[in-house]
Amino acid sequence: MIRVCYFASLREQLGRAEEPLELPAGVADVAGLRARLRERGGAWAEALAESRPVLCAVNQVMARPDQAIADGDEVAFFPPVTGG
């Protein structure tokens, strides 16, 4: 299992803050997981569209699309940050 978290506008669009997920077969990295979540359609296809500037963190560290994901990881998707 992995834990997937969503923040800010993404959390609102998707209607959830987090979910446990069985790491889907064939999904090896961040880009793969994002593509798989898009297949849910509707708000998922829209919010996670490739044209959208979505950032990702794996185990609470910023991650690139090709970063590997393994069982037990915490993966978070969120919009560009606006603190400070």
Binding site: P53, A76, G84
Partner: protein
């Protein structure tokens, strides 16, 4: 002696002067403190803003701030770094963030302070939501913030 680093994320207001005092008090080797105070404005994108909510990613936020402070301490000879960032509800005029950097001489503190706030703007997981007359809106990331971050990809001057 390595720089004394402190990062905090809190819903409560903070006193910028007290934070700066805490950073330098009892450490007479410090010759300079440079601080940046980010404040909530009552206007953004030409529209009056009534209040703001700051969301963050608990756990990652602290790690990201620690990493930025550690990076600054590795690049410059510093005595101390203190970062305080608010979360939750804020009203205009309230401090949002304080970055205070102490060093023996001013040059390092000036540069490191700007570096920390530039990196915080693009690497720390905070998101601002503004309340305006017509409802609420998420603040969009500014292109200028990424430009500011990239300036620091060059080796630090004087290094």
């Amino acid at each position: 002696m390595p720089a004394v680093r402190s990062v905090r994320v809190q819903a409560e207001p903070f006193d910028p002067a007290a934070e700066v005092d805490a950073l330098r008090a009892g450490r007479p080797q410090i010759g300079a403190v440079v601080s940046f105070l980010g404040l909530m404005r009552d206007l953004n994108d030409g529209e009056p803003v009534e209040s703001m909510t700051l969301e963050h990613y608990p756990g990652m936020t602290e790690k990201a701030l620690e990493a930025i402070a550690a990076e600054a301490a590795a690049r410059w000879a510093l005595e101390g770094i203190r970062v305080v960032h608010r979360i939750g509800e804020l009203e205009p005029e309230e401090p949002i963030v304080l970055v205070a950097v102490a060093s023996r001489h001013r040059a390092e503190a000036f540069r490191a302070c700007e570096f920390v706030i530039d990196y915080l703007k693009t690497r720390a997981p905070f998101w601002k939501k503004e309340r305006v007359a017509g409802g609420e809106r998420w603040v969009a990331a500014r292109h200028g913030d990424s430009e500011a971050e990239r300036r620091w990809e060059q080796p630090p001057d004087g290094a």
